[in-house]
Symmetry: C2
Subunit: 320 residues, 2 copies
């Protein structure tokens, strides 16, 4: 770990990571708490998480109910909001409820609002970002963004069951242009039409970017509290979830994982298998903190040394 | 790993492990195959698995339908059957069915037959075994056995939801006399009446043998294809499941785990935390082989070097 320190490089030296996704206001109910109209959305969680490692730029849209104190949450983490478009109307809102089994949630409502007309337009600064991550939005939008980007060193993508079902063609097109694909266990089975995860993974990898001047495609299957599976060629890492005494709110855990993963890869500018594994651990570590408090609260008070310490604990927890 | 070789010590040098449990004939149906009246039962799987590391002695009961070719399956692995009682009547039979989700199974029938009157009586050879494992039988029987044993170095125990529900008092008494307790995720939650596994584990550990001349109690929570959690004092190991392309028949996987675990501890005669972790990996490795074929088939043709190789693969799969 000595070569890891300092975990967070000085801001000037940080690598640039472009993040496209949603900014939302969430109503969340869990057996342990309830919050209303709290800052959420994939781009929010991804960028806050990535900010511990890299310099994220967010491309997203918000409504007139997005105020200065919301902006400050991003700015306190030096997140570039030059790609944030503010338009008339309300910001995307989502309401969800969790039971004791945090792997299952019920969506109470989804109001797209200004997000309905979101057409991400990249500035030249954003087009030249070497690292890019596309949060869970319509695959056609993801595709449009990918086509605008000059020559990313590494492009990652997240999606959801809804798009797999209704927009498989556009999703398949987008997958051909990305190096890292992050997906849930059930979504992997759904996309590959295969229950066995090893077979499903091979199938999905074969859909991804296979051009010789890219890294061999990387697939990450998230398994909620049971951790994740990382696949590249014949190599596999199986990482358990970090065991927590109190999971207050699982919202954003998957996005935090993606943010930590991409942030660490951006910071180290190294996409070797060894580093991909470490990036997955850092992603898991930030996600494990995120769920300890409601909404983005834990990410706001998280310190780099907390991340560093839990990384070490993760090693103890898994190595034999 | 170099200090691990040879994996299997010569038979004379192997440590003795006493195993009490059931021998049964199983009818098994999975999406991939179907077998009828195949050798099964907890003592069968535990002893076959342990035989790769130690010299197991089985105390169990069978009926007159237990023939020479069944006996030979044990004897080919040098398993001591001097504690096997053969009585008039039929051997315990069990029928079960699995869907694609191998973590869930349906019991079609359970016919206890001669097992109904099983009263394990230990010979002096068995009473002096330093390592003991009690497969999933009535907690009162487990308790009776534990009281007959002189001074075990290490005693382990398995149970099931049925006993937790109907025989909690006897189970609690038995737990006070054991060092290692192996239980499923849902059973742990049921026993502790607590959903969070970390809190459930602490509670269960507090029910176990706490006398100063024993090792600190060890709890293992099995999570099916998601691996296991090993707890001792404040220490935790979280081991994922070994990812398999084809899971033909999950029957006996939990017992194989216990057999490999106890076999390895018996072989090494070392109950340090470091060695407990390794024993869990060896248990998981044997279990991962077991499910590749129907019934005990894979255990019968398994070679020590297969185990050794998969142990190394397990390290690659989990270390970062």
């Amino acid at each position: 770990m000595s070569n890891e320190l300092p975990l967070t490089p000085s801001f000037e030296k940080r690598g640039k990571l472009l993040i496209i996704g949603s900014i939302a206001f969430d109503d969340i109910e869990t057996p342990f708490g309830k919050v209303r109209h709290t800052l959420g959305g994939s781009a929010t969680y991804i960028s806050l998480s990535a900010s511990f490692f890299a310099k994220p730029s967010v491309v997203a849209v918000v409504g007139s109910d997005f105020h200065l104190h919301h902006r400050k949450i991003f700015e306190s983490k030096k997140i570039d909001l030059s790609g944030l478009k503010k338009t008339k109307g309300k910001t995307f809102t989502w309401g969800g409820k969790y039971g004791f089994d945090v792997n299952n949630r019920t969506t109470i409502f989804t109001r797209l609002n200004v997000f309905k007309n979101f057409k991400p337009k990249l500035t030249s600064l954003h087009k030249n970002c070497p690292y890019v991550f596309l949060g869970n939005i319509h695959p056609s939008l993801q595709l449009e963004v990918l086509k605008q980007i000059k020559k990313p060193k590494l492009a990652g993508l997240d999606t959801m069951n809804f798009w797999i079902e209704s927009e498989k063609k556009a999703l398949t097109e987008a997958l051909k242009l990305v190096d890292i694909f992050v997906i849930n266990e059930s979504e992997a089975r759904q996309l590959a039409k295969e229950h066995n995860l090893l077979k499903a993974a091979r199938q999905i990898l074969s859909l991804m970017n296979l051009s010789v001047n890219r890294i061999p495609p990387v697939l990450i299957i998230k398994q909620g509290e049971h951790g994740l599976l990382l696949f590249q060629e014949r190599r596999i890492l199986n990482l358990p979830g970090y065991l927590l005494e109190d999971v207050l709110d699982p919202t954003g855990a998957g996005d935090c994982f993606a943010g930590g993963l991409m942030g660490y890869l951006t910071k180290t500018n190294n996409v070797s298998w060894q580093n991909l594994k470490k990036a997955c651990v850092f992603g898991s570590v930030v996600a494990s903190f995120c769920v300890e408090k409601m909404g983005t609260k834990r990410l706001q008070d998280l310190r780099p040394r907390d991340i560093d310490q839990r990384f070490k604990e993760f090693k103890k927890l898994t190595h034999f």
